[in-house]
Amino acid sequence: MSFYRMHIIIPMDEEAVEHGAIEVKRELSELIEKNNLKDEVKVIETGPVGVVGKGVVMIIYPERLYYYNVKPSDVKEIFEEHIVKGRIVKRIEHDYGEKRAGKIVDYKTVGLTREQKRVVLDRCSIINTLDMEEVIAKGGYSAIEKIISEKIKPEEIIEEVKNSGLRGRGGAGFPTGLKWDFTRRTPGDEKYLICNADEGEPGTYKDRLILEGDPHKLIEAMIIGGYAVGAEKGYIYIRGEYQLSIERTQKAIDDARKFNLLGKNILESGINFDIEIKKGAGAYVCGEETALIESLEGKRGQPRKKPPYPVNKGLWEKPTAVNNVETLANIPAIIINGANWFKNLGAVNSSGTKVFTILGHVEYPGLVEVEMGTPLKDIINIYGGGVKKGKKFKAALIGGAAGVFLSEKLLNVSMDYESLKENKAVLGSGAILVMDEDTSIPEILFSILKFFAHESCGQCSPCRIGTRHLVDLIYKIKNGEGTEKDLDMMLKIVETMKETSFCPLGQSVIMPVKSALTNFKEDFIKILNKKNNEEVLNA
């Protein structure tokens, strides 16, 4: 291995490719080759790094300088000036001391390039995560090696995960170690481990970043999970829209098989485990674990009655552990660094880090990984760069469509399971959608309720009919034809749905509706009876 004085990272995602990332990389590699710098400067293609809306991004190490919106025609100048002479090309937008409110701010303190606490995404944007040798050099599969060489037993792994306090990142926050323990203890010779990569919650794409940015981490975690619960077969259920995720993950699986990290007798350890990708077909409810299992079995994705829980009767009626992508991606680090290390990260009863997507009206929409318990305010202002164009903050929708509208009063809330629960909110998928002062909450609620009406699986009437009624009511209200009674009716419907719906989809509609109607009541009151009033005035 040669020693490189400079690493240049070019993240490849759909946006980058659309803006010519492939040409940029080709051009740069050619220049490096032509000038005999191949042993000094290394160009690395990697998955998405969490910066969006900036076209082709080029990150130069060791300075850790980000160039944005790089065009193929810029490459020659960057090469000659920066790479050869070490001078920053000021003409091109870059993150190196940025002017904000008249002050120069270091690039490490604001925006998505600021230092983050990365456990799950530690390898994304640093190496080519599809190159097996680089992955291994950066600690990939070392947790497996540790398990094999130290002969760690499945029970010990489960104990470690339990002690780490890791909880599910797919929405419900169930302790992962406990789930594995239940699966392990249920008698049966055939068991399954399923990775839930359906990621259907609007405004969420954290799992996608892991699938595209570091699929080997997920594979390693699944091998450990399979060994712990006693499963020899794992499935990754990826939503059909994530074509690139499917391709990259499949490539990683194929490579892992070549290195005998998947398949029979992994690294001569006697452990058997293999993974198959199943492609979803576009239904939000299939993210719910029992619906996902139905779908895996090739059926309509309608949730099953619980109990029995999947840990007892899951795929093909066999004991099955279903885990979210991000949850699993924490496992290798826990095995390597130990439960205590993990427990020291984050907040009380919410160990570790969390990946958040910051979207809507912020300066830097994108994705960050920070410790659990980071205040919402910091995520929005520091990482997201604050509300766009200096407008005033109005609301944040936390946790996707089944999430909660928070008002300015709650901006100080800590982003962890317990603090959010105290404030009648949920962490959900980790989506943070920021809305500025010009946003109409009734409009957004209308969009969310249409989503639920469309995605209700139709199996139970409270959800099927309730969502339909809610759409009609909110439509009426947003058009200025609603009355006080309609607002009461909406609350009554969601409360009934919470009590009587068959699955958590119908039960969760209360979250956005009630929080919108409570925290932004004036927005609704203001437009009630508007049509009638106007008609009277015009008469």
Partner: protein
């Protein structure tokens, strides 16, 4: 449905599908993967294809139909040469997805879910592509277009038409 009356042609498309089914017959729960393949071959899933799948997998037609109609991904109507899928997810909604879709409707003179007369474009909507950082977003065929504005989509559509005539 009168199964006998359906004529299933013996052509390359059906042979390709049959081969796929043979290979996957013994994997458990193959129906959805088979339908993905079938839609890839035929572009959509007309009754004949659904029936063919049911017959080859030896399951009731009603089961195939039930699955096809449950998932957004499967289509039972033919589509235009290019499919425009506009995201109406929350993040895109907040960033003005509605103006985008209105502009497309006006430009193509069609409603959501239908196809232009010249069978060139089909307009459809989706809920979140996981590209929310680029909101508002649409996907044409497999390509993602982000940070759209009404003017930008009209230009994109015009580019497609231009590319066709050249």
């Amino acid at each position: 449905m009168e199964t006998e009356s359906l004529h299933i042609p013996d052509n390359d498309h059906y042979r390709e599908l049959k081969k796929f089914i043979e290979e996957h017959r013994n994997t458990p729960g193959p129906l959805i993967q088979v339908l993905h393949k079938a839609q890839g071959i035929f572009g959509y899933l007309p009754k004949e294809v659904q029936f063919f799948v049911a017959r080859e997998l030896n399951i009731p037609f009603s089961k195939v139909y039930g699955v096809v109609t449950f998932y957004n991904f499967f289509r039972t109507e033919p589509i235009g040469k290019h499919v425009i899928n506009v995201c109406l997810g929350t993040a895109c909604h907040v960033k003005g997805a509605k103006d985008v879709i209105d502009a497309i409707k006006k430009e193509l003179n069609i409603e959501v879910g239908s196809t232009t007369e010249d069978k060139f474009f089909t307009l459809s909507t989706a809920r979140c592509f996981g590209a929310c950082g680029l909101a508002p977003v649409m996907v044409i065929d497999e390509e993602v277009y982000g940070r759209l504005s009404p003017q930008k989509v009209i230009n994109i559509i015009k580019d497609f038409k231009k590319a066709e005539t050249n």
